[in-house]
């Protein structure tokens, strides 16, 4: 007997809806990734000099292009002579609009800055070692100086640069290394703290605790996973940060260590739950065989149970790292956010997610800073992708090993 037509139709419709929602979801994920990379990669076609501004030098100056890093060092007065950047032996004199009054009086410039362009032009013409950071609109056709182009932001500079000054003028610095290392550093600290503890709790709950105690512990630990991260941030800021400050006698307590501790607490539920599940998969017969051979309970745990569930434990650790790498709010609140390459756990650090959260609001849409933040997003995406693929690989290998 065939099904009535309306039932068949209903089935078809449900099937269609399911297929549609599946494809829409995948498409959305794909679009987000494409959007992320499209926005981010535009950065490498851009000049790091603030939009609407140019750099000008005397027309006799042989230098035509300047690296953005060099621009910053010039304006920070770290480079003071043109000869150190392939120019003539001449002292560098930096000029910004703020300095205008030391060269020209207000009357000369004009009440409404109507003579500004002329002033800049003659200034650049008269001082041979000058480098001027001026608005594009004040460069007229009869400008007597020469414009120098800073190099575009290069990938090498981006990934290996040690300085992150995205709003620096005249030339922003997009060195992602401190942020990347900060993220990894805080995550490393977190995993070093949470793995031993999480593993201990997992073993306790799976092998040692009696069911009554386990039934109390388990929901509490799962509750930890449900607390919003900003609450963890509060807790860290109010309790852990002052504690670290007084214990280590530091000027500020907002350090990588504080971030690691908070992340460790946040990663614990993930680690405990996954590791415990994995430990529980050890067949009872395997444990009984070990005990029947005169092994004690502890010998059974570390010689049989842990080796048997090691891949699950590894997956737990890696997922814990994944949780730590991507965490934003709590870390933003307690790590101090100084974009320097960390050398100890007692220094402030700045992580990638915290950077994005803190800076996206103040960057102008479509500008280099904005794009740089998107590349940070890409890096974060790739990091978590690697982590997930590793977990996938480990658990698939595990299935093979256990037949």
């Amino acid at each position: 007997m065939t099904k009535p037509f309306h039932k068949k139709l209903l089935e078809k419709i449900v099937e269609g809806i399911l297929a549609l929602s599946g494809s829409i979801t995948s498409l959305a994920v794909l679009l987000i990734v494409i959007f992320l990379f499209k926005e981010g990669l535009g950065l490498f076609k851009r000049s790091p000099v603030a939009e609407g501004y140019v750099l000008a030098v005397n027309k006799n100056n042989p230098v035509n292009r300047i690296d953005s890093k060099v621009v910053k060092r010039i304006f920070d007065q770290e480079i003071t002579n043109w000869k150190s950047i392939t120019g003539k032996n001449d002292t560098i004199i930096t000029f910004r609009l703020d300095n205008l009054n030391s060269y020209y009086s207000d009357e000369k410039i004009g009440a409404n800055l109507e003579n500004l362009s002329v002033c800049i032009s003659s200034l650049v013409d008269s001082i041979s070692g000058i480098i001027a950071f001026v608005p594009q609109k004040n460069i007229t056709n009869d400008f007597k100086g020469k414009l120098v182009k800073p190099e575009n932001v290069s990938a090498g500079e981006f990934f290996l640069g040690k300085e992150w000054y995205p709003t620096a003028e005249p030339s922003a610095q997009f060195g992602v290394l401190p942020l990347l290392l900060g993220t990894l550093w805080v995550s490393l600290g977190a995993i070093l703290l949470s793995l031993p503890l999480g593993l201990a709790v997992a073993i306790y709950m799976a092998e040692v605790a009696n069911p009554r105690i386990r039934n109390i512990f388990k929901p509490i630990i799962e509750l930890l996973a449900g607390i919003p991260s900003v609450i963890y941030g509060f807790f860290g800021l109010v309790v852990i940060v002052p504690l670290i400050q007084s214990i280590f006698n530091l000027p500020v307590g907002e350090t990588a260590l504080a971030g690691s501790i908070i992340l460790a607490i946040m990663a614990l539920p993930t680690i405990i739950t996954i590791a415990e599940d994995s430990i529980r998969t050890t067949p009872r017969s395997m444990k009984e065989a070990s005990l029947a051979l005169g092994a004690s309970r502890w010998q059974t745990i570390y010689r049989i149970v842990i080796p048997y569930s090691i891949s699950g434990i590894t997956a737990a650790a890696i997922l814990g790292i994944g949780r730590a790498v991507g965490e934003t709010m709590a870390v933003l609140m307690v790590t101090g956010n100084a974009a320097v390459i960390p050398h100890s756990f007692l220094q402030p650090v700045r992580t990638i997610p915290a950077t994005i959260a803190a800076e996206l609001g103040e960057s102008s849409q479509g500008g280099p800073h904005y794009q740089a933040l998107f590349i940070l997003g890409c890096i974060l995406f790739i990091l978590t992708l690697i982590i997930n693929l590793t977990v996938e690989y480990i658990s698939s290998r595990n299935k093979l090993a256990k037949r």
Binding site: P211, M286, E288, A289, A292, L293, G294, A295, R303, K402
Partner: protein, 250 residues
């Protein structure tokens, strides 16, 4: 002197009375088969002798179990040492996810044996005793999972033998195996009888009659009849036993 003696043993899983007033003796270097329908308590009884029931929550045991005239449930008994003396082979082959060699060496290692050559000798000797040597001598470092089910079970027997127990408990050791492997295990039991006291739980009547010297028939937690295997199988005293053995129920 009885190797194992049970005096009025009772076992409760919570409120469930699983073993009722069991009393029996097992002689040195004999094979005793425990038979009975599923759920009759024969496996539970077997697991009394190496205190495997301790692992289950809510178990209460009364009465006395003596091994070598020592009450194994008294407070001053070291359970780990008891389990060295009373080895066990389980229903399904359960090798560890380690190499063949390490599986057999495991019992020695956990009991603190450090002497390498002693471990090596014992492992080889045990595998030979378990009639497995010819099949695995060239792959001792391969994973135990590469062996067939029957080989794995003999490996588990070798593993139990390696720590030189005096009693071996076997919980349906051949139920998961094909006839050929079963025959090998039975042959092995005959060999082992010379040196060990063996207690075997089995569902297979023919097997019980083939391998055992004594047979105990359990029903609903009670020991119904116990005697020489020949007697039990040819002229059982109770109708109940006869019905079970001949397959009229169970």
């Amino acid at each position: 002197m009885a190797k194992i003696e049970t005096i009025d043993a009772n076992l409760y899983y919570g409120d469930f009375h699983a073993l009722k007033n069991i009393s029996m003796k097992m002689e040195l270097n004999t094979v005793t088969a425990l038979i009975g329908p599923s759920g009759c308590g024969k496996s539970t009884y077997l697991r009394l002798f190496n205190r495997m029931n301790d692992l289950i929550d809510n178990v209460r045991i009364t009465g006395q179990i003596l091994v070598d005239d020592e009450d194994i449930y008294s407070k001053n008994i070291n359970v780990d040492e008891l389990r060295i003396k009373v080895g066990m082979v389980f229903q399904k082959p359960n090798p560890f996810p380690k190499s063949i060699f390490e599986n057999v060496a495991y019992g020695l290692r956990v009991n603190g044996e450090k002497n390498k050559s002693f471990i090596e000798d014992t492992v080889v000797h045990s595998i030979k005793q378990a009639a497995l040597w010819d099949e695995v001598s060239d792959k001792l470092n391969k994973s135990a999972f590469e062996l067939s089910g029957g080989q794995q079970q003999r490996l588990c027997i070798a593993r139990a033998l390696a720590i030189s127990p005096s009693v071996i408990l076997m919980d349906e050791p051949a139920s998961a195996l094909d006839p050929l492997s079963t025959a090998k295990i039975e042959e092995l039991i005959h060999e082992l009888k010379k040196e060990y006291t063996i207690v075997i739980v089995t569902h297979n009547m023919q097997q019980a009659s083939r391998v055992s010297d004594y047979t105990a028939f359990f029903y609903l937690g009670e020991l119904v009849e116990y005697g020489q295997t020949v007697e039990i199988f040819t002229k059982p005293k109770l109708k109940h036993t006869e019905n079970y053995i001949t397959g009229r129920f169970g």
